[in-house]
C-alpha cells in the first residue's frame, strides 16, 4: 500500500471514533490500577486531533503526524500524552521527505514510534504498558514485511489481553505491585484501538 495524507487522516478519525466510543471503558480500566483518567485523557486529545487535521490542508503524511504529535502532547495530559505524542513525532520524522510511504517505510515509522515510546517511558516489553502491544505488532509487521489487516488486529488483540496476566513495573499501576495482576493495562487497550483503526483503514483499501 501507499500511505497517503487521506489515509492518515482516516486513521486518526477512526482512532478517535473508537476512543470516544470506549471512553468509559478505558477510564474503567484505569480505575483499579491507576487514577481513572485514561479514557478522559485520550478522548480529549484525539477529539482535538481530528479537529486540527481537518482544519488545515496538509501536503505530507509527515505534517499530519507532526500536527497530531503536537496536539496529543498538549491536550492528552497524563502519561499517555508524552508517550503517544512521542510516537507520532517519531513517525513524522521517519516520514519526512518521503515522496511515497510504502509498506517498508510505514513499518519503519511504527518501529521508530515504538522506540520513542520505550525511550520516553524507560519501559521495555513485559512491564504492563502500551509497549506490550506496540512491540509485538511492530515485530510481526517487520517479520512479514507487509501489511495485513488481520495480522495487525489479531496480534494487537492478543497482546493487549496478555497484559492482564502481567505485573506492572512502570507507570501508576506499578504502585499496586502484585495487585496490578488481573487487570488489562489501559494504555494497551487504547493502543489496541489505534491498531484496530489501522487494520480497518487497510481493509477498506481492498
Amino acid at each position: 500500500m501507499s500511505f497517503t495524507v487521506e489515509k492518515a487522516i482516516k486513521w486518526l478519525e477512526k482512532i478517535n471514533e473508537k476512543i470516544q466510543e470506549n471512553k468509559q471503558y478505558l477510564t474503567k480500566l484505569d480505575q483499579p490500577i491507576g487514577d481513572g483518567d485514561h479514557g478522559i485523557n485520550m478522548a480529549r486529545g484525539f477529539q482535538e486531533v481530528v479537529t486540527i487535521v481537518n482544519e488545515k490542508e496538509y501536503d505530507t503524511v509527515s505534517d499530519v503526524m507532526k500536527a497530531t504529535a503536537m496536539t496529543v502532547m498538549s491536550k492528552v495530559g497524563g502519561a499517555s500524552g508524552p508517550l503517544y505524542g512521542t510516537a507520532f513525532l517519531k513517525m513524522s520524522l521517519a516520514f519526512k521527505e518521503k515522496e511515497v510511504i510504502d509498506d517498508a517505510t510505514f513499518i519503519h515509522g511504527l518501529e521508530e514510534a515504538l522506540n520513542g515510546i520505550k525511550q520516553r517511558g524507560r519501559a521495555i516489553h513485559g512491564e504492563k504498558t502500551l509497549v506490550d502491544v506496540w512491540e509485538p505488532v511492530v515485530n510481526k509487521l517487520k517479520q512479514e514485511n507487509n501489511f495485513q489487516a488481520d495480522l495487525i488486529l489479531n496480534t494487537a488483540k492478543a497482546a493487549m489481553e496478555k497484559t492482564k496476566e502481567t505485573m506492572a513495573t512502570k507507570g501508576r499501576a506499578a504502585y499496586f505491585k502484585e495487585n496490578s495482576i488481573g487487570h488489562i493495562d489501559p494504555g494497551s487497550a487504547s493502543s489496541f484501538y489505534l491498531f484496530e483503526a489501522l487494520a480497518e483503514v487497510l481493509e477498506e483499501e481492498k
Partner: protein, 123 residues
C-alpha cells in the same frame, strides 16, 4: 547575572503554588515558576504549562525542573526537548524538599551544576 530558575511541576496546582509560598517566605529573589495541574485545572500535568514556566523562570543562568510523579517527568523531558534553551535540567529529588534546597542554593548564587551536586548529596 541572575539566578538559576526553579520550576515546580506537580499533578496539583495547589501543591505547586503552596510550595512556591513556602519558598517565598524564605527566598524572594530567585525566579520560582509553577506548572501544576492540566490545562483545564484538573489533576495531571501539562507540557504547555511546563514550557511556559520554563520561559518565565529564565534569567540566563540555567533552569532546574522539579517534578512529582511519573507523567510529570515525561512531560518535563518533552518540554526540555521542545525548548530552544540550553542548560535546563531535571532534578532527581523530591519535589517539595528538593526544590526548597534548590531555591536556597540558587539564592546564594550557586550554578546549576553546584545545585545538582548538593541535591545529589542530600537525596
Amino acid at each position: 547575572m541572575g539566578y538559576v530558575g526553579i520550576v515546580l511541576i506537580s499533578h496539583s496546582e495547589k501543591v505547586a503554588c503552596g510550595i512556591k509560598d513556602i519558598i517565598r517566605q524564605v527566598i524572594q529573589d530567585v525566579p520560582v515558576e509553577v506548572a501544576g495541574g492540566t490545562d483545564d485545572g484538573k489533576i495531571g500535568t501539562s507540557m504547555d504549562r511546563i514550557s511556559a514556566a520554563i520561559e518565565c523562570a529564565d534569567q540566563n543562568k540555567g533552569i532546574l525542573l522539579f517534578y512529582d510523579l511519573g507523567s510529570a517527568k515525561m512531560n518535563a523531558e518533552l518540554a526540555i526537548e521542545m525548548s530552544e534553551k540550553e542548560n535546563i535540567k531535571l532534578a532527581e529529588a523530591p519535589l517539595l524538599e528538593g526544590s526548597y534546597v534548590g531555591a536556597v542554593e540558587s539564592s546564594m548564587g550557586k550554578s546549576i551544576a553546584e545545585i545538582i551536586d548538593t541535591l545529589n548529596k542530600n537525596f
